[in-house]
Amino acid sequence: MKKNAHAMLGICAGLALTAAVSADAELVRNPTQVGANVDVGQIVKGDLYVGTSPQGEIENEIITRTGVYLTESGVYDDRLTIKLTIGGLFWFASAAPSNTDFQNRRVQFGPGVGQAQAVYAFGEDPKKPTSTLQFGLFSHKYSDAVNLGEYMYRTGTYPGLLYSGGWSYMNASGYLAQGVRWTMPTMGGLLTHDVTAYMERGLQPLHDITPGYMITVKPTPFFNASAGVVWSHAISLNSKRLSPKAEANAYSKRTNRPVKDAVASGGSVEDSITAYDWANKDSLGNIGYYTFKGFKVMGRAALDIGQLAGMESVKPGQFKVYTEVALLGVEDQPYYYEDKTARMPVMFGLNVPTFGLFDRLTFEGEYLASAFPNDNANVLQNQYPTPVSTPYAFDPDDKQFDDWKWTVYLSRKIVNGVTVYAQAASDHLRHFDNAAVPAARSATPTSKDWYYVLRLDFGI
């Protein structure tokens, strides 16, 4: 690990020494942008979690937030673009309706940073760069998705946790990356390569560096497709955290079953062997440990039917179909991760033309068949790369959590500066408790659970 760190220091120093220093760079400042949005909606039907605690079913719970933001940006010498967005959010903690704690009733406020990034354009003509280097804190969004999908960066690997939303109920289907992204268009833009190195800042183990690569092909204006791979936690600053050597993270290599809750006597033969292997782990060497480290791969495609069909009354993008599929963890691990299809979320979307009624009307669906819940408690609280802490409470062959997720999204600009959005969904949105800790599970675990949000957005 020391070698990794030292190598990175060397790279930084090398970059610094070889970079050109422009003595008389010209700075062009962009106008300040400010804006705000007011969200109001309801969880029409759901199953609420606060932290890791289930609170039971809820109906018609109000959800509301008000956000503000300010963006400053400028460009040095036409080459180096610097952008900074700061903001703040009034929000309310989620809690069971019976919980009348003051902290769950008062309005909360939290500041935040939407982006703090620099983009350097290489090549003779910075307006048509041969490549761009983006670094800092910035949103990485690679698909047409409005809510679901975008699996490559914002999901987990082991376990393959799925996310949507966050501090913003809508327009949040991106990943707030901290790191570096190098984008290189080739063949006149037909092929674009993206090389990324992002630091893990939301999922465990934190601070590890995850490299990735994505290729996008755009042979015609009406079709594009991408494929990519991410090597999660490839560069670990503390490799002990990748694969904790603890009973709760151990499995028997002979039975391929978790040690935790394996009964030494009175249970099945497999249980006895598993428990025996753990008891004699040092002498037998039959114990393995689950790891966070692994590969995620993704493929996506988008077809603009409106453009393909030459529909003049439909603007580009307004009649489009798109899809994405990912394999969250290429390599199998025993018991929890033996079935690849259970780690393969699939989403598809359709932009429906409304002939001027809306700027965008989108339907999205997602399907994942899993034996384990989409629950981050074991990762966030216990730091183990397993989907649950009670392995034998679930049958890996019983995909009881197979379900559909769905989203309906629309937007319409009213006048310059004012836009209205609406979203109705059954997705992975996790609400926050009064300590700003996200719930372990979504409030809409089945496709019959859903919420809606209306947003009034205005700004200059």
Binding site: A19, E72, L84, A118
Partner: protein, 493 residues
């Protein structure tokens, strides 16, 4: 200063402020010139390393600065910012989640006096602003404002791992240049606002800086910590753990369970801890008994003539020098500041107090730094060392962290002072000298206009904050083998 007198401080200060306002020149049509806004961000990445652990250091900060000048005389500057950060160390709980905190980097106004505001006879700076008097120090030093007095803890870093060798002062600073700028006087009055307790007290200070030529710069100063207290009872709390006997010079704390019979027959002060290997040179138990009797007499009979209490109030002094050998060589191979040697020494608490503060040398941190020439490879490469020879840990646990707000340098709650007795220290020298030396290597390089890379490797007095934003009472690095590195990519305009 008693409470009655204190009651008069606030009205007096308000009156002084009103008087200043009344005599300030009034202009009906002051011209306001706004400065271009500055924005920036940085991404920090590094590790803290000990023999058995590695912890990530990872923060992302942003800032926005707005400034303007009224009538060329009054410059107002405000910097707002925010920081993504993680609690240290990383724990298996939700406290491990990424956090964000807003902040104010500065909120200050500077008024220039004199006929020509671009060449003022004096400047009055007030509000919240960083004071950095040792422009050469990159990490260590800057003792006068950011160190404690009793106890004289030293620290560096903070919410910014690097580029933070200064003190964010809340108060006022009057700067008077004389002799054509060769001698500068700084008079400060600031409010204690960090871990320095008691909070909110005012501490006046004075600094003089002389720069007779381009080669040498010297400075000296003092700060009278907590000189103006709004609540004097907090200065020297009348509590057992803060009491000592005037006649014996021994703290009462640690003697309450004094049990001679529990240990060897050696009749010593510290034999309750059964340091059997210590045989000679210790005070006898008579002193301990006298101390306890004095305390009991004070508590039970109201006779407190032999009892006194440690106080936070005291005077810190500082002296520094900077020698720019590079300026003598005038070589094109050297950048300005290369080959500069600088040093600073401070006495954190001029007056002795019994037992904890009897040796001024133990309150005397010294730092020395050198800017190493890199032939244009880096904009700056600085190596700094610090020596602070004290038997006490570099801690602010008792002043700050739920131990009663006491001016004593103990490092653990419930700890006995007698674990620091001369005999114990002499017998366990390695244990007490392990944290005496600190070091820091700092490098920076502008990559292009708008982007700067900075790196720091150090074993210093950096105290990381836990998940509740509370800094650790002792530095993370407790010995020379415990260190960290941080690389910062900063960008902005």
């Amino acid at each position: 200063m008693n409470n009655t007198k204190n009651g008069g401080i606030l009205p007096l200060m308000a009156l002084a402020a009103m008087t200043l306002l009344a005599f300030a020149p009034q202009r009906t049509q002051a011209e306001l010139v706004m400065e271009p806004k500055h924005i920036g961000a940085y991404v920090d990445f590094g590790q803290a390393l000990t023999d058995d652990d590695k912890q990530a250091l990872n923060r992302t900060g942003v800032y926005l600065t707005v400034a303007g000048t009224h009538d060329e005389r009054l410059m107002v500057t405000a910097t707002l910012g925010g920081l993504f950060w993680y609690g240290f160390p990383e724990l298996p709980s939700s406290s491990r989640l990424i956090k964000f905190g807003p902040g104010v980097g500065q909120a200050q106004a500077i008024y220039s006096f004199g006929e020509d505001p671009s060449n003022p006879t004096a400047k009055l700076q007030f509000g919240l602003f960083p004071v950095k008097y040792n422009s050469d120090a990159t990490n260590l030093g800057e003792y006068l404002y950011r160190s404690g007095t009793y106890p004289g803890y030293v620290w560096n870093g903070g919410w910014s791992y690097i580029n933070s060798a200064s003190h964010l002062l809340q108060g006022a600073r009057l700067t008077i240049p004389t002799f054509g700028g060769k001698v500068t006087h700084d008079i400060t009055l600031h409010m204690e606002r960090d871990v320095a307790q008691p909070l909110h007290d005012f501490s006046p200070g004075y600094m003089i800086t002389a720069k007779p030529n381009g080669f040498v710069e010297v400075g000296a100063g003092f700060v009278w910590s907590n000189a103006i207290s709004f609540k004097p009872s907090r200065l020297a709390p009348k509590k057992l753990n803060n009491a000592y006997s005037k006649s014996t010079g021994l703290p009462v704390n640690g003697l309450t369970d004094f049990q001679i019979s529990a240990c060897s027959s050696t009749d010593t002060l510290i034999n309750r801890n059964c340091y059997q290997d210590i045989k000679a040179g210790m005070p006898d138990t008579a002193a301990a008994r006298a101390t306890l009797n004095a305390w009991n007499d004070c508590q039970n009979n109201g006779n407190c003539s032999d009892i006194d209490y440690y106080t936070f109030r005291g005077i810190k002094t500082m002296a520094r020098v900077s020698l720019d050998f590079g300026s003598l060589l005038a070589s094109p191979m050297l950048r300005p500041g290369d080959l500069k040697v600088y040093s600073e020494v401070a006495l954190l608490g001029v007056e002795n107090q019994p037992f904890y503060y009897e040796d001024p040398l133990e309150r005397l941190p010294v730092m020395v730094g050198l800017n190493v020439p890199t032939l244009g490879l880096l904009d700056r490469l600085a190596v700094e060392f610090e020596y602070r020879k004290s038997r006490f840990k570099n801690t602010f646990l008792y002043p700050y962290d739920n131990q009663g707000g006491l001016p004593v340098p103990l490092a653990v709650g419930g700890e006995s002072p007698y674990g620091y007795a001369d005999q114990v220290v002499e017998a366990n020298e390695d244990m007490f000298t392990r944290d005496d030396v600190k070091w820091s290597v700092y490098a920076t390089r502008k990559v292009t206009k708008g982007i700067t890379l900075t790196a720091q490797v150090a074993s210093d007095n950096f105290r990381p904050a836990n998940g509740e934003a509370k800094p650790s009472s002792q530095p993370f690095a407790k010995g020379p083998g415990e260190w960290y590195y941080v690389v910062r990519a900063g960008f902005g305009f």
